[in-house]
């Protein structure tokens, strides 16, 4: 339609930017209302997130988590599947990571643990996504509702495991024992330190690199393999996909399994990379935020990496805000998040027509000419 005359950068850069700015603007109003100068707050957040190497470390650490949950949501989106279950999939994957780390960590060396952990996280995440996928593909259940339900089911199961199975005797907190060191993913500062680069200690770990690799792989997978072709075909037009011999059941299962696997990798960053033990509710909403990340990143790996960094900034900057302004609630970041999802997801189309119109107006003489030529 009219998008033919609108260049891509309007859609992929200007519109999302306008949406974010709107979200920032509204949250600035909230800041003013609670008595904090939004400019000061922004400064604190910026400084805290990017101003020094520790801030960077935290920002990228959070971003790593979002890369996984964002990619997970996006790959499902390409198949027109709305996977709201990233939260549960990441959570459940934690169980896989914990079991492997706790039971094999003492026996196996680091270099064997790493692939095992990746497999465990991926398998458990994929497994938890597989059931809703199967039910959608075979029985026609609505994947959105099923995955929401599976988040709750995962929460109950994990509570059971943490309280009744994994909690060391005599310990009161619902968390597992600390994993053996051989199952720890090296921290970035240790890793860089080995090469002589100094960096402050932060939770940022090598999973970040793995996240970037995953983003590249997802790109290859979606746009350069026959499976990606099938996923997108199925997403755009299921009946045409069927005509082309694409098995909707297989593709749904494949897509959700890959999506769940990516969500599962979240466990690597947080558990193997930083916490070194399984804790109750350790995903802490990252799975849900993945939806916002994916929306903002326009479901493209490059966009998702950028959006992840933005959200990493919000998280780290937000924590920083809570340190600097003890009076304000760090829930304000939750508000900001909600606004970003609202404006760049739900109200995605609010500014689009006016921005397009503006663009057309600015380049109006050309469009008119085009029409004149056509006539």
């Amino acid at each position: 339609m009219s998008s033919q005359r609108i260049p891509g950068w309007i859609n992929y850069a200007v519109v999302p930017l306008a949406n974010i700015l709107m979200a920032f603007f509204v949250s600035a109003l909230v800041f003013v209302y609670v008595g904090v100068d939004p400019i000061d707050a922004a400064k604190v957040m910026w400084e805290g997130a990017f101003g020094y190497s520790e801030g960077w470390g935290y920002t990228l650490y959070y971003a790593t988590g979002f890369i996984f949950t964002g990619l997970a949501v996006s790959i499902a989106f390409h198949c027109q599947l709305f996977n709201i279950g990233g939260e549960g999939q990441a959570y459940f994957a934690g169980l896989g990571v914990a079991l492997v780390s706790l039971y094999l960590g003492d026996v196996l060396p680091f270099w064997l643990m790493m692939p095992l952990l990746i497999i465990a996280a991926g398998l458990f995440g994929a497994g938890w996504a597989f059931i809703p996928a199967y039910l959608q593909a075979k029985r026609g259940s609505h994947i959105v509702i099923t995955t929401i339900m599976f988040n709750f089911i995962a929460a109950s199961i994990m509570a059971y495991f943490l309280v009744e199975v994994l909690k060391p005797p005599m310990s009161m907190a619902p968390e597992s024992a600390v994993f053996p060191v051989s199952s720890w993913i090296p921290k970035m500062h240790d890793f860089l330190g080995a090469f002589g680069y100094e960096m402050t200690a932060t939770p940022l770990n090598l999973t970040f690199i793995f996240g970037l690799i995953c983003a590249v792989l997802v790109w290859f997978f979606l746009w350069n393999t026959r499976w990606g072709y099938e996923i997108r075909a199925q997403g755009f037009n299921p009946s045409a996909a069927k005509y082309a011999g694409i098995d909707p059941i297989k593709i749904t299962l494949l897509t959700m399994a890959v999506s769940g696997m990516l969500a599962g990798f979240f466990a690597l960053n947080t558990l193997s990379g930083d916490m070194h033990q399984l804790k109750l509710n350790y995903v802490a909403g990252f799975g849900f935020t993945g939806i916002a990340v994916s929306l903002m990143g326009r479901n493209h790996p490059v966009g998702i990496v950028l959006a992840s960094i933005l959200f990493g900034f919000l998280y780290q900057g937000g924590a920083e805000l809570a340190f600097e302004f003890p009076g304000i609630d760090s829930k304000i970041i939750v508000v900001l998040q909600g606004l970003i999802i609202l404006f760049s997801g739900a109200l995605e189309y609010m500014f689009k027509p006016s921005i397009e119109k503006l663009y057309l107006k600015a380049t109006g003489w050309r469009a008119d000419k085009e029409e004149a030529q056509n006539a």
């Binding site: 009219s2 393999t225 026959r226 072709y229 075909a233 045409a240 069927k242 005509y243 082309a244 011999g245």
Partner: protein, 519 residues
């Protein structure tokens, strides 16, 4: 004189994004007349009617009803102005009863139960007066399409429409039903109702209308009185030049049986949609399948193409036997040497958001030719696409252009090129010229005929009788999931086929052909 017009349109203009669906349309419809509107697919007929009915809002222009300028901002304004419309795609709530559908919007008060009593009485009166019987308590989704359409007409009458717009009402009707409908329309006209009728069937235009307007590419190109024109003249007005309906046919002997269907049964949720169907197609012949849509032709094509399974019977495709237990898929069927041009290019044949490169490998995307190990061979795909686009004269010949950006005719060329280039022995073709212009039609018809001449077995499904008659060697007619008769092309004429489509066997038709197919 103004007040002798029920509807006057002046300068109606409408764009959907870049699609200029209506360009400065002027139209006058005389009170108490039946006014036909014709034009190719996509000419803008439905859009124009929807504007009159307030479903869309025009970007510019004036509407006058009975001489008075009105602003129609929504369907409620149109209804208030006495306009009723039967849409091309029915506007019924499927899980509601007939009565509920009819009263929706004119419930007669906030409490439903009282209104229902009154509505039932009025509905029953209308049904009696116009011979439009339907059970008021029947659930819509359980009614056959013919009856659903009655409900649509009843809805309009119930609202007291003085101007009735019907958008392609006969597409889903049998000839008798069409006949009956036309009787009603004439009765309505004689009582002073104004009727606007959109149809593609020029025969119908000649039979029932008083005046005709012709649309082409969003514009209004002619207004004529029906008595002053004929089919050929209308066809010429529609496409802008002389139309040639026939394709040259070389006489030759058909070869071996390439496609054989024996006692095919397809059931869905306990309903037999295809009922004990048998036929065969030989190399070098075109078997045409005629029938009112909805009689199982589409399903038959899907089953043959491996998209859907079947319940019992046997299919032999190019020497490969398929039983209900055989695991097939469109991919497997293609491997057996079958090409398939689906009925609906937007729903099946293409993916609007894919670019031409991707469109050209649909269904063949797994073949080794297009893949190098795990990755697709993008360079080769591009080059291959480029070549095909050039040979098939697809315009513009840009492999990176999104499918949606091609015109209908060129989109259809892409689909046909993709399937023909694989050189299949069995060629399944559904509605190959739906919504494409006459130039493309000639081109496509010629290619289908070439396939026959090259010795392929072609199965052609079409609702266009002209198309069926000009291409086929033999014609079978489907009704309610079965073949009700077979004709040699020479013996076929519209009247005979029409009767057969309504399951009425003219005396001179040899209905024994069906049995002989069993041998």
């Amino acid at each position: 004189m103004t007040d002798s017009y029920a509807i006057e349109l002046q300068g109606i203009d409408k764009k959907f994004g870049d699609v200029h669906a209506n360009k400065a349309i002027d139209l006058q419809v005389r009170k108490g007349s039946i006014h036909g509107i014709v034009g190719e697919n996509g000419a803008g007929k439905s859009t124009l009617m929807s504007i009159i009915y307030g479903f869309y809002r025009a970007d510019a222009g004036h509407i006058r009803i009975n001489g008075k300028e009105v602003r129609i901002n929504g369907s409620q304004d149109a209804i208030a102005a006495g306009i009723g419309m039967v849409h091309q795609h029915f506007m019924l709530v499927e899980n509601f009863t007939v009565l509920e559908n009819v009263m929706l919007g004119t419930e007669g008060g906030a409490a439903l139960d009282k209104g229902k009593v009154a509505a039932r009485a009025e509905l029953e009166r209308l049904e009696r007066d116009y011979g439009l019987e339907v059970d008021p308590d029947a659930i819509i989704e359980e009614l056959p399409v013919g009856l659903q359409q009655r409900v649509e007409i009843l809805k309009a009458l119930y609202r007291g429409a003085e101007i009735l717009i019907l958008d392609e009402p006969t597409g889903v009707l049998t000839p008798q039903e069409t006949e009956h409908l036309f009787k009603i329309l004439k009765a309505l006209r004689d009582q002073g109702t104004t009727v606007i009728l959109i149809t593609h069937k020029l025969r119908e235009i000649m039979a029932v209308t008083d005046h005709v307007s012709v649309m082409r590419q969003g514009g209004m190109v002619a207004h004529v009185d029906t008595v002053d024109t004929d089919r050929n003249a209308l066809a010429e007005l529609m496409v802008g030049r002389k139309v040639r309906f026939t394709v040259d046919r070389i006489a030759h002997e058909a070869g071996d049986v390439r496609l054989k269907v024996e006692n095919l049964v397809v059931e869905r949720e306990g309903v037999r949609l295809i009922n004990d169907l048998s036929f065969e197609v030989r190399a070098g012949e075109i078997l045409g399948v005629a029938g009112v849509s909805g009689n199982g032709q589409s399903l038959l094509m899907k089953v043959l193409a491996g998209i859907e399974g079947f319940t019992s019977g046997k299919i032999t495709l190019n020497g490969h036997e398929l039983l209900p237990t055989t695991t097939t898929s469109p991919l497997v069927v293609r491997e057996m040497g079958v090409g398939h041009v689906p009925e609906d290019r937007h729903k099946m044949g293409l993916i609007n958001k894919f670019d031409a490169k991707e469109a050209f490998i649909m269904g063949y995307h797994k073949s080794d030719k297009y893949n190098k190990g795990w990755l697709q061979d993008k360079k080769f795909i591009r080059q291959d696409t480029q070549e095909k686009m050039t040979t098939w004269d697809v315009r513009p010949d840009d492999p990176d252009l999104k499918t949606a950006s091609f015109s209908g005719g060129n989109q259809q060329k892409i689909v046909i090129a993709r399937e023909v280039e694989k050189n299949p022995d069995v060629f399944l073709v559904g509605q190959p010229t739906r919504g494409v212009d006459i130039g493309a039609i000639e081109f496509i018809h010629k290619r289908v005929m070439d396939m026959r001449n090259e010795g392929k077995a072609v199965l052609l499904v079409s609702v266009e009788l002209d198309e069926i008659m000009s291409l086929s060697d033999r014609i079978v007619v489907m009704y309610a999931g079965n073949i009700v008769g077979e004709l040699k092309a020479e013996a076929a004429d519209e009247k005979t086929l029409g009767l057969m489509m309504a399951n009425i066997m003219p005396d001179d038709v040899d209905t024994t052909v069906k049995e002989s197919a069993h041998e």
